[in-house]
Amino acid sequence: MKSKNSFSPYWKTNIKYVSILLVFWFIFSFLFGIILKDYLNQFSIAGFKLGFWFAQQGSIYVFVLLIFIYVRLMNKLDKKHGFKK
């Protein structure tokens, strides 16, 4: 803990969290909202075509969720490494 080494467990875990969350960031916006839009538009939830819904609604909800997940994970990690008073 409090290591100045860039390969410290703290930094490694942080990078892991960031990478995983950015994969979800990509999937729910670029993949579902744009690349797979035409395919997903065959399906509907209520009056929304699914691809359209991801592009104009769903992706935004996921973005908010991703940041709060990151906040939670990092607060735990900070605590584990003695950064949180």
């Binding site: 916006s29 538009n41 935004i60």
Partner: protein, 557 residues
């Protein structure tokens, strides 16, 4: 009471609140002026960031743009929210830990070079001036439409208000007025949206209402109806794309990365108390922004359906009152080409109707027959959105001049008191220049807004991310990367927006990507050039590597 009386009351009331807050939060030190003393709580910063971010364009224009663009409008919805994920995960916590006043300062210290600072200052000024001109214009437009004063008078009133709290209170004054402005603007946006959602679909939540069935007895889904109406009139289906998918992808990415690289957004995260607050307030900011951004597409769909049903193919003699009123402002124009007295609206030469996009939000409450106070509320909300963004930008401009240019380069011996005076003077001049552009808007404002995002994406974002996550990146690499990114972006804009270098049409776009989306390409070029140059130049000094190690941990022993 009439709409105008209500507007005077609501605008007067909100303005007095802003001035009161400014007076209460006047500052005495540069740290307070630049970063509100670094003592802003996570919620307050989240609200301030949301108001700072949501400009006149988000409030007045975005729903209207989506209304006409249908699915394609998603580039703004995803682009201007997804950037916050990048901000929270890649930038905000580390820049807060770094703990300085401006973005150029980070670039200069991390890349141990005042040349890097100058490149960053140039970008920050270009991006911020581009933006602020649009905001002042927005203030003028709202004033002129709702209070029937001259646009220029409106701009000057707006200038005086911003001047008062930006010069007096610096970042501290701006932060707490932005908190108040967020409340005003979100209330003003949501009230009409909820009313209209209930009217059209019976669902009080617009986000759900826009996927519901209409209450007109037909039990048809709103979006199906809109798809059909659009097709009947010769437009594209509302829920399908008109732009090529690669361009939609590129624009969304450029806007996201540009958002994360905009200096007036980044600097908000210098103001919080600690690193964990920077992460948390990015989440809160996006949550608060998402309330408006998920409502806007619903408003867009409601407004378009309403508009098509109310005026398309109807006799001009029977149109409602609001149409005549907005005709006077030139935002709606009807030319009876075939002299049949009917309004023919279509996607070809027989079209007789011009509808300005801004009207979808500004006139929406009137189109839906909502009470007068709701109409007035929209005016107060539009002003709050424009003023809050303008103030944030002005602070970036003033800090770039007084801190980065004067204190760090031209006149380092200046005392703190002297720097504070210079900061106030630069804020004053920045307001005057912004006001000048508000009164005499250059014809290219719309064209350069895309440039602002493109530049931020092509310069700041790669330089900061590499600065934090890649210790080996050195001065030479970062500077050449930034210059290559900016240069390429400017070249592409000038070529396709201003007809320089032989010009070109949409068919000549590289990879089918429009200038709006080209920031993505320029960003990639920045990264590639930076890596290439890095490999042939001297490595990062160890002292700098230690700085990087230090910003990677949330607090020191």
């Amino acid at each position: 009471m009439s709409i105008q009386t209500w507007t005077y009351i609501l605008v007067g009331l909100t303005f007095s609140v802003y001035i009161g807050i400014a007076f209460w939060s006047r500052v005495r030190s540069t740290k307070e002026f630049y970063v509100a003393g670094g003592g802003v709580g996570a919620w307050a910063n989240g609200m301030a960031t949301a108001a700072d971010w949501m400009s006149a364009a988000s409030f007045i224009s975005m729903a209207g743009i989506i209304s006409f663009a249908g699915y394609d409008g998603a580039v703004y919805l995803m682009g201007w929210t997804g950037g916050y994920v990048l901000l929270a995960l890649l930038l905000a916590p580390y820049l807060r830990k770094f703990g300085k006043f401006t973005v150029p300062e980070f670039i200069a210290e991390r890349y141990y070079s005042n040349n890097a600072r100058m490149v960053a200052v140039f970008c920050a000024l270009l991006v911020s001036f581009t933006y602020v001109a649009g905001q002042m214009r927005g203030v003028g437009i709202v004033f002129s439409r709702f209070l029937e004063v001259d646009i220029n008078t409106g701009v000057i009133i707006g200038m005086l208000i911003v001047l008062f709290y930006a010069v007096l209170g610096g970042m501290k004054g701006i932060t707490y007025t932005q908190v108040a402005q967020y409340c005003v603007l979100i209330f003003a946006f949501m009230v009409p949206a909820i009313f209209i959602s209930i009217q059209m679909t019976g669902n009080p939540i617009p986000q759900l209402g826009f996927g519901s069935q209409l209450t007109d007895g037909s039990s048809v889904y709103l979006l199906d109806k809109l798809d059909n109406l659009n097709v009947e009139l010769g437009f594209n289906e509302y829920t399908e794309n008109t732009k090529p998918m690669i361009d939609i992808f590129a624009i969304t990415l450029a806007l996201m990365v540009g958002t994360a690289g905009l200096p007036h957004v980044i600097v908000r995260f210098f103001t919080v108390k600690k690193v964990s607050d920077a992460r948390k307030s990015a989440g809160i900011a996006l949550l608060l922004i998402a309330i408006l951004y998920t409502t806007a597409p619903a408003v867009a769909a409601f407004a378009r359906t309403n508009l098509l049903e109310t005026i398309s193919d109807k006799p001009y003699s029977e149109i409602p009152q609001w149409f005549k009123k907005w005709e006077n402002t030139g935002l709606i124009k009807f030319t009876d080409l075939n002299d049949d007295g009917m309004i023919d609206y279509s996607n070809d030469q027989s079209n007789e109707l011009y509808v300005d996009r801004d009207i979808m939000v500004l006139a929406n409450p009137e189109i839906a027959n909502l009470p007068n106070w709701v109409v007035a509320l929209v005016a107060a909300g539009g002003l709050a959105a424009a003023l809050s963004t303008a103030a944030g930008l002005l602070l970036v401009i003033s800090a770039s001049v007084s801190h980065d240019l004067i204190k760090r380069v031209i006149f380092p011996e200046i005392s703190e008191k002297g720097e504070l005076v210079v900061a106030r003077i630069s804020a004053f001049f920045a307001v005057c220049i912004a006001g000048y552009f508000g009164i005499n808007p250059p014809g290219f404002v719309a064209a350069v807004v895309a440039l602002a995002f493109g530049l931020a994406a092509a310069s700041f974002f790669p330089a900061i991310v590499m600065g934090i996550f890649y210790k080996k990146m050195n001065r030479e690499g970062a500077i050449s990367g930034m210059l290559a990114g900016i240069g390429l972006m400017l070249f592409y804009m000038l070529k396709f927006k201003f007809d320089f270098f032989g010009g070109g049409s949409a068919d000549d776009y590289w990879f089918g990507i429009s200038p709006e989306g080209f920031g993505s390409v320029a960003m990639i070029v920045n990264f590639l050039v930076a890596f290439f140059v890095m490999n042939f130049t001297s490595p990062t000094p160890n002292a700098i590597k230690e700085i990087v190690d230090n910003i990677r941990i949330p607090e020191n022993e």
